[in-house]
Symmetry: C2
Subunit: 229 residues, 2 copies
């Protein structure tokens, strides 16, 4: 039986860009689990109320609901211990929490400041009002202003990724010799921008772009095949 | 036989503040290995030339020299596999590289911008000239200017530590249920400031300060007993 994944969608139901849903999608693929994604919109809280969460990702595994990307990864690691590990040990899980926290509090907010209005443009009209109100309250300005001057600010963003370059200079994946959930955490931020915006986050000769290219090819090109704006 | 650790010292040979030496010191303590530290100064490159490195930490383990804090941690993990693990598995080591890279490229440079001139004041007179010239070249300004207005900039620094708070809200140590090399990486930055400066990096009610207090108590108070400026 497939696992169901409630997955944020744009006006085009095929457009799936949420970085947190991509983390879950790639974790499911890593475990080799058949998955059926269900397009979901911000304004459809009642459709996932059964999970106790108001936000996606939510998975349903044989009747059991799990919400929140981190909780989903831990759930899959424990319930599918016979499948390829997402964390490669207790230390891998504990240390991945730091990477998850950094992506949530530093990298993804920085990406948002470069593409926030672009995201709004791909949303379903019913979602646009919610998104504008909630994000303008969070950022304290109009969506259009948030991504203003982004060409000038892009260099700062690229500099902020120096930890990623240092790791990739030492090992091919954030997981070491093979991709781990750490790779999915970090890649999903770039996949978010790739699907919802045409603004180029990385220079073509950035080693992070080379790694992103390898990530796009994993699982028979799962991420590469995703619809883009 | 004790492992020798060449350890950066101030004008007072008992003053040991290098964050990279503290990583090695705590890794050695974690493995329960008797250690003899040897005070070393920036201007004593010839004393460690045998190691192939111009910088500390350098350890000598029964005649074998290993330089660089990360290489030392990996060496100890492999050669003392029967002792408590620093990484708790291959994933733990791979993911700790990100934490190491973040501390090296974000956190420690940010701490330097708050205490750089304080560090200079505790150095041996022979080291002060080297330190001033090399750091003023790196920062592009006088040492005194680097830490100017630090009271005003401290809030930005504290905000930049949000990933640490997110992890500590979920688990007691960066290593999960027990301290790991990730804890030693991050703590060593705070220990650097504690030993070389009287500038308070953290608010007393910061959860990071509570964790730092627990770190100070590890190994019979090894870090708490360190000399301070």
């Amino acid at each position: 039986m497939s696992i169901l994944l409630y997955d944020l969608a744009g006006a085009d139901p095929a457009l799936r860009f949420s970085p947190y849903c991509w983390r879950a999608r790639l974790a499911l693929a890593h475990k080799g689990l058949p998955t059926q994604t269900l397009p979901w919109r911000f304004t459809e809280g009642e459709r996932i109320a059964f999970s106790g969460s108001e936000k996606v990702p939510v998975i349903v595994d044989d009747g059991r609901a799990v919400a929140d990307s981190w909780a989903i990864a831990v759930y899959l690691e424990h319930t599918r211990a016979d499948r390829p590990s997402l964390f490669s040990g207790a230390g891998g899980m504990a240390h991945a929490r730091f990477i998850n926290a950094w992506a949530d509090s530093v990298m993804n907010p920085a990406i948002a400041r470069l593409i926030l209005h672009d995201i709004w443009t791909v949303l379903d009209p019913g979602d646009q009002e919610y998104f504008r109100a909630s994000r303008e309250a969070r950022f304290g300005m109009r969506l259009e202003q948030v991504q203003q001057d982004r060409e000038a600010r892009r260099e700062d963003f690229r500099r902020s990724l120096s930890p990623l370059r240092a790791v990739l200079a030492a090992q091919p994946w954030f997981g070491g010799d093979a991709p781990s959930y750490a790779d999915y955490i970090l890649f999903s931020g770039f996949q978010w921008a790739r699907c919802a915006s045409r603004f180029a986050l990385l220079a073509e000769d950035d080693p992070i772009a080379e790694w992103r290219g390898r990530m796009l090819g994993l699982f028979d090109g799962l991420a590469a095949a995703a619809a883009v704006a």
